[in-house]
Subunit: 183 residues, 2 copies
């Protein structure tokens, strides 16, 4: 089991361009983001503005046909040309988590077309979802996106589409952190 | 977020009657089990034979109609007459986790009738599921069962039914710990 730790501070491979609250409380400003794997969940360091931890776990809603479609078009992280990134931590409401699996899936895909809408933006925008609800973190998910500067408008489209869905009405905290590769 | 910590050692509210491996490696013998909430995931204590941590998280497969059925008949933990208990940690195989949500649900309920079969044993047998796959634990789930001594045979039926399912073929480690209330 490997945790991924995102540390906002004064060093790291990514320069932070902006930290903007979308809904709810924001995170403190920091100049850089460091991303590192960790084999354990130690205490959050008090010496950096913030640290967010997540697990690249199994998918919770994707069905087989969708997984085949996603796998056939998605790009991996770390492409040379993908010098822009976004880290978007999200927490959903109690109402979301009190729903049953079939109800969450219905809102996620049948009504909000989360997967189908995202497919349009692949492979230009690579992304990785990290789960953190069950490890005692302040957010439920961290999504990491990487893209080339020429796809920045496409990325704005994608986040706009996702924030206009019924699924998004269950988001009670979201911070939008934009980054550029520093090294 | 509260974690539940199950500590096998020489003190606790439950006496351990047996620790038996069902498949894979067992756990060390201990005389007592202590159960306590914890607000953080500190390091596992080295002074006890073992410590297992889990999160009483949201259900992953249950649909609304099933939740209504379960809620209408299930009993809570801590009933006076429920002086017997079982703690059953389980780890499922990589093949299970590589499946998509629809595939896991099909094996869990459509083929293995996990929820429907369990309903028969309620409210005599109370149970609580704790998730631990995403917090770096050696198991994926801990299930805690409580029942009165006169329902011991019914409990053996229940575990027998669950171990005969297709779902169970994905279990690669299971330990069966039986207990009696000590205080």
């Amino acid at each position: 089991m490997t945790f991924t730790v995102f540390t906002g501070g004064d060093s790291g491979a990514w320069s932070i361009l902006s930290v903007a609250p979308v809904i709810g409380e924001s995170l403190m400003a920091a100049s850089h983001l460091a991303i590192a794997p960790s084999l354990s969940l130690g205490d959050t360091s008090a010496t950096t503005p913030w640290q967010l931890r997540g697990v690249a776990s199994h998918a919770r809603y994707v069905e087989r046909a969708e997984k085949i479609a996603l796998t056939s078009v998605q790009a991996g992280l770390g492409r040379n040309e993908a010098t822009r990134a976004a880290l978007i931590p999200i927490r959903k409401s109690a109402a979301w988590w009190e729903m049953t699996q079939d109800e969450r899936r219905a809102i996620f895909e049948d009504k909000s077309h989360h997967i189908a809408a995202s497919l349009k933006y692949l492979p230009a925008i690579a992304r990785q979802l990290y789960h953190c609800r069950d490890i005692g973190e302040p957010f439920d998910f961290l999504t990491w996106f990487e893209y080339a500067p020429e796809h920045a408008t496409m990325f704005e489209d994608l986040v706009g589409v996702l924030r206009a869905t019924e699924e998004w009405t269950y988001v009670e905290r979201e911070v939008d952190i934009r980054l550029a590769r520093a090294i």
